[in-house]
């Protein structure tokens, strides 16, 4: 049987519904030593900012039960270096690129998006409105995120939407009472898709030193531990908005990915589990194909949102 794994986000068609989560794949070089990264539906790159960022002071990561906390703080090479020295590699490999961007103002998001569009730096743009690790921990422990304010989400989305034609994805935070509200805002703002979830705010303390294990005090929780939370939110949002949802949060296996697709995600992203198994995305693409074969499904799109609620 011929199985169609192609899915689309806005006017972009992807060869399969599997991408990687921003910040867990760098700019593709490292893991291209493990597999042909053009086999991915798309490569999602580490959040880009206008200026290069050093990120937070280490320690930046702590392992937790079935997961990890990170407080990287958006260390990245900056948009210019990305365009100059990271992009050519991805283009040469013929990857579909989702460029994740982070700004500290509407203007910065717009500039980043425009630069990307102008320089052909991306096939889709993902706006990270939900990074929990970029505030000075000493002064702003409360870390209000753009994604926590439906109005701001709409405003930010609208601004970027008006400036570029590239498919636009808005990435939201699970640290919210009702995830469907900012999702609806993003849709109203003209987003082509919603990415959920970014990490859950978390913390760990070393009882011996009585200090937080992360120098940044708080960090973002990811990995299989959060999968049930992510899945619930994907289900909530995909029933609420008409635009596609990109689901992520603890996906390790094809079976996990299937849960998200069945719950309503158009695509899935593999994040922290890459650190454990860099080949996970390839295994998952293969596993999706096998599942379709075994279940007589000729088009993966037929699976999306097919959860049976009795």
């Amino acid at each position: 049987m011929d199985i169609n794994l192609q899915v689309s986000i806005g006017n972009l068609t992807l060869k399969n519904p599997v991408t990687v989560a921003s910040g867990t794949f760098g700019y593709g070089e490292e893991y291209s030593e493990y597999f042909d990264i053009s086999e991915l539906g798309a490569v999602t790159v580490k959040s880009l900012t206008l200026q290069p960022r050093l990120g937070n002071v280490p320690p930046r990561i702590v392992e937790t039960p079935a997961g990890m906390l990170n407080a990287i703080g958006l260390q990245n090479v900056g948009i210019e270096t990305y365009l100059k020295s990271k992009l050519p590699f991805l283009r040469e490999k013929k990857c579909t690129i989702i460029a994740n961007i982070y700004g500290t103002s509407v203007d910065e998001y717009v500039k980043l998006a425009e630069l990307l569009e102008k320089e052909g730096g991306a096939d889709a743009i993902e706006m990270n409105l939900s990074c929990p690790n970029v505030h000075d921990a000493k002064n702003k422990f409360k870390c209000p995120l753009i994604a926590q304010s439906p109005e701001w989400v709409e405003k930010y989305t609208l601004a970027v939407r008006s400036s570029v034609k590239l498919p636009l994805i808005v990435k939201l935070s699970p640290n919210i009472t009702d995830i469907t509200e900012p999702a609806l805002s993003a849709e109203r703002g003209g987003a082509d898709a919603i990415s959920i979830i970014n990490t859950l705010l978390g913390m760990a303390i070393n009882p011996e030193t009585r200090k937080p294990k992360l120098k940044n005090v708080v960090g973002g929780l990811s990995g299989p531990a959060i999968r049930p939370v992510a899945l619930k939110m994907v289900w909530d949002v995909s029933r609420t908005v008409k635009i596609p949802v990109i689901g992520m949060g603890g996906i390790c296996t094809a079976s996990d990915a299937l849960e998200f697709l069945i719950a309503g995600a158009r695509m899935v992203a593999i994040g922290s589990y890459l650190f454990r198994d860099p080949l996970a995305p390839i295994r998952i693409i293969q596993g999706l194909r096998e599942y379709c074969l075994n279940n007589g499904i000729d088009d993966i799109n037929k699976l999306i949102g097919s959860v049976i609620i009795e």
């Binding site: 794949f25 290069p52 990120g55 990561i61 990170n70 990287i72 260390q75 090479v77």
Partner: protein
């Protein structure tokens, strides 16, 4: 080049209280490995622990490598329960390696505790490249914690033993000996061990104008440079960054590039 290997454990021994040596069979890893590199071990199937564990390559054989490790937490505890004949998933070799520049006449190793782990491979490397056996300051809490002494002797190294409790060799710290050693200008120092020790070794080397390479540790998630979890502040210019990834730009660093005052205690 495949970096993921299902390796047979061909040997697994208790070498000192709480310390084990494990030999991992893999021709691929063996032929690719250089002294100073490390591997990431999947200590258990399932999600406990979730992340792999980094371990220095202790020795490089024709068909495998060995690691030398200390049980200090859950991951290493589980690791220690594995038996010869079982398989373990090994990612590597990873990271850079110890440079062995030819223009030096004297090679000195300062190893503290389990920090000795990468040095048997380095000694063999130096012997191969330069035909010289390095001098070694082997320090530990007590005589139990002086690992690989016999191996180093067999390799022809001159060894200074140091223990904190005086149960073997000099009573005190590795740096006590380092300070008193009268070595030629063209000495190159390699060190690995607790961070305060490395820092002091660095200071002494700076004074004495010896080039010093340290193998550093950091909490690692990916081991491959993508998560940016393992960084240390450094003066190196890596794409405008000053946060060097221990797993990619390291684990071996010229200690002069490390921004020591930006590294606090944990």
């Amino acid at each position: 080049m495949d970096k993921l290997h299902e390796c047979l454990i061909t040997l697994h021994n208790l070498v000192a209280p709480n310390h084990y040596r494990m030999v991992l069979q893999s021709k691929e890893i063996a032929t690719q490995s250089l002294p100073g590199q490390f591997v990431m071990l999947e200590v258990s199937p399932g999600y406990y622990p979730f992340l792999r564990r980094p371990m220095s390559i202790e020795r490089i054989f024709s068909d495998g490598v060995s690691i030398l490790y200390k049980v200090c937490g859950e991951g290493t505890k589980i690791l220690s329960t594995l038996s010869t004949g079982e398989k373990i998933n090994v990612q590597g070799p990873l990271g850079n390696s110890f440079p062995i520049p030819k223009e030096y006449s004297h090679y000195l190793i300062v190893a503290g505790g389990i920090g000795v782990a990468p040095f048997p491979a380095l000694v063999e490397g130096i012997l191969k490249v330069r035909g010289i056996a390095p001098e070694i300051i082997l320090a530990g809490k007590d005589f139990h914690h002086l690992l690989c002494e016999k191996d180093f002797r067999q390799m022809g190294c001159k060894i200074h033993l140091v223990t904190e409790d005086g149960s073997a060799g000099h009573k005190g710290l590795a740096t006590d000996i380092l300070e008193t050693l009268d070595l030629p200008d063209s000495t190159i120092v390699y060190t690995c061990g607790p961070l305060p020790m490395i820092k002091n070794v660095h200071k002494i080397c700076e004074q004495k104008k010896w080039l010093c390479y340290a193998s550093l540790e950091a909490e690692m998630a990916c081991g491959e440079g993508v998560c940016l979890g393992c960084v240390i502040p450094a003066k190196m210019e890596i794409e405008n960054e000053m946060m060097a990834r221990v797993c990619r730009e390291g684990p071996v660093f010229d200690t002069q590039v490390i921004l020591w005052d930006k590294i606090g205690e944990k």
